[in-house]
């Protein structure tokens, strides 16, 4: 089940950057950790979140109604670096990685193409189309749109651009990064990992990034990384 939540939080909205996330705190005593959820849209004093119900915490959130309150953190993570000079930008999203692309689409000038992969049922397609984005859909089953994954769809449709942005499962990001390297196009990926604190203290979430050193890599905290690779 996919849910949408709009939170009135002026302090969060005023400092949020596209591609950042917030930590949402469930009330249930059976939970301890906050749930990191990407910001889908940034309003004047609100943020919109679109999330999947995958467990205890998100189930609790899905039962909230208008007028309820929720504990939410300040914006976390580094967000995307919007490339204003790109004439054609391609946004690639996989499943629950699609929501953050909405705010990103609002901020990108020029021509925008989105390639969205879903297992079965697409969502947020109309929202993106209303922002002037040309949307391609790829589903595993072929029930809607292209049958296959987003990379196959990009190749089949001959989609290209000056800059790619992406959010979704690691396997998709890895394949997209390899594809972008093969066509010499820069890409920013939004990564996620199981997190603890969400702000860089607990070292629970790390990722190896290439580096010019003996080992050939550095280990960086997801929440602190510069998104552009």
């Amino acid at each position: 089940m996919i849910c949408k939540m709009i939170i009135k939080a002026p302090e969060v909205a005023s400092t949020a950057k596209t591609g950042q996330f917030v930590n949402l705190y469930p009330e249930s005593k059976s939970t301890l950790l906050p749930r990191p959820i990407s910001i889908s849209e940034i309003g004047e004093d609100t943020i919109t979140l679109v999330y999947g119900v995958v467990g205890e915490g998100t189930r609790e959130f899905s039962k909230l109604t208008a007028g309820d309150t929720i504990r939410v953190s300040t914006p976390l993570g580094n967000g995307y670096n919007v490339q204003k000079e790109a004439k054609v930008s391609v946004l690639v999203g996989g499943g629950i990685g699609v929501p953050p692309l909405v705010e990103l689409a609002k901020q990108i000038p020029g021509e925008k193409i989105a390639v969205l992969g879903f297992r079965d049922d697409p969502f947020l397609v109309e929202t993106l189309e209303n922002l002037g984005v040309k949307v391609y859909i790829a589903t595993d089953s072929g029930r809607v749109g292209f049958k296959g994954n987003v990379i196959d769809c990009i190749k089949a449709e001959g989609i290209s651009g000056d800059y790619f942005y992406s959010c979704g499962p690691k396997v998709m990001l890895r394949a997209l990064a390899a594809y972008c390297e093969s066509v010499n196009t820069p890409v920013q990926v939004s990564l996620e990992e199981r997190m603890g604190c969400g702000y860089g203290a607990c070292v629970g979430c790390v990722c190896k990034t290439k580096a010019q050193n003996e080992k050939g890599y550095e280990q960086k905290k997801y929440v602190k990384m510069d998104q552009s690779f």
Binding site: L32, L33, R194, M195, V203, G204, C207
Partner: protein, 217 residues
Amino acid sequence: MNNANIDKAAAAKGIDLSVNIAGVTLKNPITTASGTFSPHESSEFYDLSELGAMITKGVASTPWDGNPVPRIAETYGGMINAVGLQNPGVDYYIENELPFARKFDTKIIANVAGHSLQEYCDVVERLNETDVDMLEVNISCPNVKEGGIGFGTNPDMAATVTREVKKLTNKPIIIKLTPNVTDITSIAKAVEAEGAAAVSLINTLLGMKIDVHRKRQ
């Protein structure tokens, strides 16, 4: 930064919050546990001068990557972790992290990690040259596959580490104990006998969470 709020409020009411551990006076008994706290990140949220002491994350003689992700899992009302002591190594710590921590009016207790007796000694020797106020030796992290488990679960090995690091510094030594033993008092007594100024309790409890529905850990 000085004149932290907690102490001001206490002083105004004539309450003395200070504590003395092994000759080091902490202005109040609030410290951060090693592994749960990072001065850089936490300083964005509150004034670290409020703390009686900060116990920094375990540092080894060379940088350690720690365990592969995922490293944490929520359990019912809690969490388990296996970070694996990722740290940038003692050289980086001394050059970068200590100077930052010293900006705050609080005591610094440096946690020491090691895969072997020699590594513990190497770190203690380096830290002895700095102005950290105390050392906390982590002989008990259960996530390190070599050495760590052995030392903390065996009174003789725990005593050996204590004795050997004591030779290298006059700074007070706190030994951090593991709960994953049958009798923690025997370990505590063994390190006390070798001159540990204090023990800190406890390091991570071993645990595993199994999802019976997904048939996975």
